[in-house]
């Protein structure tokens, strides 16, 4: 019976509904501070229009140009905001409490935009595949809808079709990623999650070669992603039930008990810790899925392997940055009050992630899967920094994300270069003796591998040192030891690849190294540059990160 529901509450429903329209006051949106996101999304929409109206011949150029300009502009906007002090002093919550504009948000947005930019270069690369019927082709299917090997596809290829939709899709994804770490209420969080996930599902399915694997990757990613987001949503629902609101601030204040005037009628839901705990666990799980932490990691290897390599690189970098950003905000803003509940769990997750990723990677035979597992291991290392629960921890994670994302994109960019008749030669055995055949490429890849392994003088070491330092200072000493051990294990398989490239005799039918256009070259060059600079002189970026280390409440 409805008697259980208090009368005023019921009445309130009526009143709210019954209020006259005149009383609605227009929401106040700080467009300037949201400009990065708006620019990217806007460009994406434009891109869709371009697909509709621009002739097929020139679409590629228009789209690529549009995307690059949009990302560059957005990045400029981020820099402008940061320079305007929105990262530090003027940090506040915009868009009616939906989106936070603060240090971490801007820092991560900047990172995502740069990573996106260099990835877009890979998307636009058209020199690697041999020309089909006299027109250059990129790494995406001529016509995604066509059956692989079918006549329609042949026709499409003959006609020189290309899936230029990838650019707007990428832009949408980036748009979502930009919102994700700056979302300041759970609804925005969820929307952003979907906005950057859905395009990625599609992008995964668009490989030109090995389309079966590509589609399989897409299906797996999609189903598991949807599954995960369902959990997330349920978690959000429970948190809403717990706090009566989805805004971070409110939930936080309920968590640390600063809101006490609870309607007695709602006593059984409002402030019910069971709801809080379960809700947090579910939301957290959704984010851990995105960062690829054990045991929610199993999509990673398959998707990384099946997706078109440029997409893999983009996704590996972008998703991790965005997801860790969101995770940080959630843990530092919403539930710092209950760290004693989630910290042990996160410890466990971090440990199994580090060890699991490193150990399983040892026996991998496909370079893309290898990198996938290494990304899992790295997720573990970053988690160690997240757990620190200190400003130092935040900044170390931010720094690590920058270092990691550029190394990853660079590594995958190199993977796109090593090709044989069947497209990219991703099987490790094919990489034997690469160092003999083309020392430069092998050397560059070796640099990336060493960075992954965290050898000093590379960005990888600086990052690893930063997070471990933060973890140790935050009282997670044992975690550091585990991290060190798993780094040792991880080192083994990075070294294995180097051995393969340099010390084993080249195979007769080995792959050739394609000479890329300046686009991919730029991507790789940026990767190397960031790796070396962050390795030799990380101070400037550490400063940046530590200035950006404070979340706005």
């Amino acid at each position: 019976m409805s008697s259980l529901v208090s009368a005023p509450a019921v009445h309130s429903l009526w009143t709210t509904a019954a209020d006259p329209i005149s009383k609605i006051n227009a929401p106040k949106i700080e467009y300037g501070q949201l400009s990065p996101t708006l620019i990217v999304i806007g460009a994406a929409v434009l891109g869709v229009l371009v697909e509709a109206f621009v002739p097929r011949k020139s679409r590629y150029y228009v789209q690529a140009f549009l995307a690059v300009v949009a990302l560059a502009a957005a990045f400029a906007a981020v820099v402008g905001l940061a320079a305007g002090g929105y990262g530090t002093t003027k940090a506040h919550i915009a868009a009616m409490g939906a989106i936070a504009v603060d240090g971490p948000a801007l820092f991560l947005q900047g990172t995502i935009l740069l990573a996106g930019l260099v990835s877009i270069f890979m998307f636009a690369e058209r020199r690697l595949d041999p020309e089909a019927h006299g027109n250059r082709v990129d790494s995406f299917a001529a016509q995604a809808s066509a059956v692989p090997g079918g006549d329609t596809e042949k026709a499409a290829i003959k006609a020189g079709f290309t899936t230029t939709e990838v650019f707007p899709l990428a832009l949408f994804a980036i748009g979502g990623m930009l919102v994700f770490p700056s979302a300041n209420d759970l609804l925005t969080l969820f929307i952003a999650l979907e906005v950057f996930s859905l395009p990625l599902y599609l992008l995964c399915a668009l490989a030109r070669r090995k389309r079966l694997m590509s589609q399989e990757a897409a299906v797996k990613y999609f189903l598991l992603g949807a599954f995960a987001s369902a959990f997330t949503l349920f978690g959000i629902a429970l948190l809403y039930g717990y706090a009566g609101s989805v805004s971070y601030a409110t939930i936080a204040s309920v968590v640390d008990g600063s809101i006490t005037n609870v309607d007695p009628a709602l006593a059984d839901t409002m402030g019910n810790d069971a709801l809080l705990l379960i809700g947090m666990a579910l939301v957290g799980m959704g984010l851990l899925f995105k960062v690829g932490a054990v045991p929610f990691h199993m999509w990673t290897p398959d998707v990384y392997q099946g997706a078109p390599t440029p997409v893999t690189g983009f996704m590996a970098a972008g998703t991790k940055v965005a997801a860790f950003g969101a995770l940080l905000r959630l843990l530092y803003v919403v539930v710092p009050g209950m760290r004693w509940d989630w910290r042990p769990v996160m410890w466990a997750v971090a440990i199994v992630t580090m060890l699991g990723g490193a150990v399983v990677a040892i026996t991998q035979t496909d370079i893309k899967r290898l990198l996938a597992y290494s990304s899992i291991a790295h997720a573990g290392f970053i988690l160690a920094g997240v757990i620190a629960m200190t400003p130092d921890g935040v900044s170390s994670v931010l720094f690590y994300l920058v270092a990691y994302s550029f190394v990853t994109i660079g590594a995958f960019a190199v993977v796109t270069l090593v090709r044989d008749a069947g497209g990219e030669a991703t099987h490790l055995s094919k990489w034997a003796g690469l160092g003999r055949r083309s020392p430069l490429v092998a050397a560059v890849f070796a640099v990336f591998l060493l960075a992954f392994a965290g050898i000093p003088l590379t960005s990888g070491f600086a990052g690893k040192f930063a997070v471990f330092k933060a973890a140790a200072a935050g009282g997670a000493g044992p975690l550091v030891v585990v991290g060190v051990v798993s780094s040792a294990v991880a080192a083994f398989f990075y070294i294995r690849v180097i051995v393969l490239m340099f010390f084993s005799e080249p195979k007769a039918d080995g792959p050739t190294v394609a000479v890329p256009s300046p686009l991919t070259m730029t991507t790789i060059a940026v990767g190397v540059a960031v790796t070396v600079v962050l390795g030799l002189a990380p101070q400037y970026f550490l400063n940046l990160a530590s200035q950006a280390g404070v979340f706005v409440r």
Binding site: M1, S2, L4, V5, P8, A9, V10, S12, L13, T16, A144, S145, V147, P148, L187, F190, I191, E194, L198, Y201, L202, A205, R211, L212, M213, Q215, E216, A217, A218, V219, K220, F222, L223, A226, F227, A230, F231, L233, F234, I236, A237, L238, Y240, G241, G244, S245, V246, D263, L266, D268, T269, M270, P301, D302, Q305, G306
Partner: protein, 99 residues
């Protein structure tokens, strides 16, 4: 009647959906199970919204529907293209990549 019961129902639906995802082979059905889970979430939102006496929950439910719709678009596109190439929508057939 006590809105808490709606929560129990929602939880039940959610679990059914999840179980369905785990046991069903056909990609479409798996996908439908996921939709079921989303709807369970909606129900939860609405129930809580009712209990808290504010509208956030109901509005969120609308958002969820939109997202679900978008998901359907993307999902079906992918599943269909997979079906076209394999002539089967069984998620177990799609296991080229493993180990």
């Amino acid at each position: 009647m006590n809105p808490v019961n709606y929560l129990y129902l929602a939880a039940l639906l959610f679990t059914i959906g999840a179980i369905g995802v785990l046991i069903r082979r056909n990609a479409i059905i798996v996908f439908m199970c996921i939709e079921l889970m989303l709807n369970a979430c909606n129900l939860t939102f609405v129930a809580f919204s009712r209990m808290h006496g504010n509208l956030d929950g109901q509005i969120i439910a609308f958002f969820t529907m939109v997202v679900a719709a978008a998901e359907v678009v993307v999902g079906l596109a992918i599943i269909v293209s997979l079906f076209r190439t394999r002539h089967s929508a069984s998620v177990d057939d799609a296991s080229l990549m493993k180990l």
